[in-house]
C-alpha cells in the first residue's frame, strides 16, 4: 500500500502551522507502517488532546481522540479487550508527561504491548506556548516570562525506570532514523516508547529566538548524537539518539491469559 493510503487525504492540508514538526512525525509514522505493510483494520490510534494529538484525525485507522493526558488509559482498555490489535499512542510532551505522567509510568510498568510516541516539542502548543515538563531550565514561554526554573524530565530515563521494554529517541532532522525506530517499536512485543524531538516554530521557536522551522530542525542536528558516541563524552550536553532499551519481558495481555487459565483451573 502506498503511504498516502494510510492517510485521510480529504482532511489535508492539516491544521498544523507551517513548519510544525508534528507533520514530519505523521509522515515518519505512516512510512514506518507502510514499510511494515500493516493492514489498516488492525491499527488503532489513541491520542489525547494537543496539537500533536490531532494526528489521529489524519490517519485512516480506527482512531480514538480522547481527553488531555489520558490516551494511555483509554489505550489500556482497548488493548486488554482486544490484544490482537496494534495500538499506537501519539502524545504531546505535556499530554504524555505533565497531566498524563501517571498513566505513562503505569502503562510502562504493565509492559502493555503498544507503542507510545511522544512528540516532544518542549512546549504546550495547543494552548499557546506555555512551558512543559520537557522544556527544561532557561526556556522562555508565555508562562515563563523570566525563563523556566523547572528541571525537565528525561523521557528515556523515566520510561526505563518505570519498566518500558523498548525505549528510543530520534528527531525531525533524522527522519530516516525516526522511521526505522518507529518501525522497530511497533514490532516490539511489550511497551515501547519513542520520543521524537520535534519543532513548534510558532511558539517554542519564536519565544526562544531559534529562528524558523528549518533552523530548529538544524538545532536537532547540532545538539544530538548517537548513543554512547565519542562526541557525547567530549560534550555531555549533547542529547543521545537511538535505542536505549530493547528487551523481552512478560507482556500484560499474555500474562492475563495465565490468570484466566488459573481461574478456569479453579484455583482460587
Amino acid at each position: 500500500m502506498s503511504v498516502k493510503e494510510y492517510l485521510r487525504e480529504r482532511f489535508l492540508p492539516h491544521l498544523w502551522c507551517p513548519g510544525c514538526g508534528h507533520g514530519e512525525v505523521l509522515g515518519g509514522l505512516v512510512r514506518a507502517i507502510e514499510q511494515l505493510g500493516l493492514s489498516k483494520n488492525e491499527l488503532v490510534m489513541v491520542s489525547g488532546i494537543g496539537c500533536s494529538s490531532r494526528i489521529s484525525g489524519y490517519v485512516d485507522f480506527h482512531t480514538l481522540h480522547t481527553i488531555h493526558g489520558r490516551a494511555l488509559a483509554f489505550a489500556t482498555g482497548v488493548k486488554i479487550a482486544r490484544p490482537e490489535l496494534k495500538l499506537i499512542v501519539p502524545m504531546g510532551d505535556g499530554d504524555a508527561l505533565a497531566i498524563g505522567g501517571n498513566h505513562f509510568i503505569h502503562a510502562a510498568r504493565r509492559n502493555l504491548d503498544l507503542t507510545a510516541l511522544v512528540m516532544n516539542n518542549r512546549i504546550y502548543g495547543m494552548t499557546g506556548g506555555q512551558f512543559s515538563p520537557l522544556s527544561g531550565e532557561n526556556v522562555s514561554a508565555t508562562t515563563a516570562p523570566y525563563k523556566t526554573i523547572d528541571r525537565g524530565f528525561d523521557i528515556a530515563e523515566l520510561a526505563k525506570a518505570a519498566g518500558a521494554t523498548f525505549v528510543a529517541r530520534s528527531t525531525t532532522f533524522h527522519v530516516q532514523q525516526m522511521i526505522e525506530i518507529i518501525a522497530k517499536a511497533i514490532t516490539h512485543k511489550g511497551f515501547s516508547v519513542v520520543e521524537v524531538l520535534t519543532q513548534c516554530p510558532t511558539y517554542f521557536g519564536r519565544k526562544n529566538k531559534i529562528g524558523d522551522a528549518a533552523d530548529m530542525i538544524t538545532w536537532f542536528k547540532d545538539h544530538t548524537t548517537p548513543i554512547g558516541s565519542k562526541a557525547k563524552q567530549e560534550n555531555p550536553g549533547l542529547i543521545e539518539r537511538g535505542i536505549f532499551v530493547q528487551k523481552q519481558e512478560p507482556e500484560y495481555c499474555e500474562e492475563y491469559e495465565k490468570v484466566v487459565a488459573r481461574a478456569r483451573g479453579g484455583r482460587s
Binding site: V3, K4, L7, L12, P13, H14, W16, C17, P18, G19, C20, G21, H22, G23, E24, L26, G27, G28, R31, T172, F173, V175, Q176, I179, P201, D212, A213, A214, D215, I217, T218
Partner: protein, 68 residues
C-alpha cells in the same frame, strides 16, 4: 544498486504551506519558494534524489519521482 536518477518532483501547491524546510535543508539547494510562498524546483539537475525534502515535508507536499 545504481544510484537513482530524478524523473521529477511532484509538488502539491494546495498542501504546501511555504515553511521552507525543504528549501533550506536540501543538501543541493534544488528548491526555492516562489512569490506565493510555494515551493518550486529551480535546479533539478543538481538533485541527488536523497528524498530528504519528501521525508521532511510536514505537509506531504513534495514527492521525488526517480527513474528505475
Amino acid at each position: 544498486m545504481a544510484k537513482p536518477k530524478l524523473k521529477q518532483h511532484h509538488i502539491n501547491r494546495d498542501w504546501c504551506k511555504g515553511c521552507g524546510i525543504c528549501v533550506e535543508l536540501c543538501p543541493k539547494k534544488v528548491l526555492e519558494l516562489d512569490d506565493q510562498d510555494k515551493v518550486t524546483v529551480v535546479r533539478p539537475q543538481d538533485c541527488i534524489c536523497c528524498r530528504l525534502c519528501e521525508l521532511r515535508c510536514p505537509d506531504f507536499a513534495i514527492e521525488v519521482e526517480t527513474q528505475e
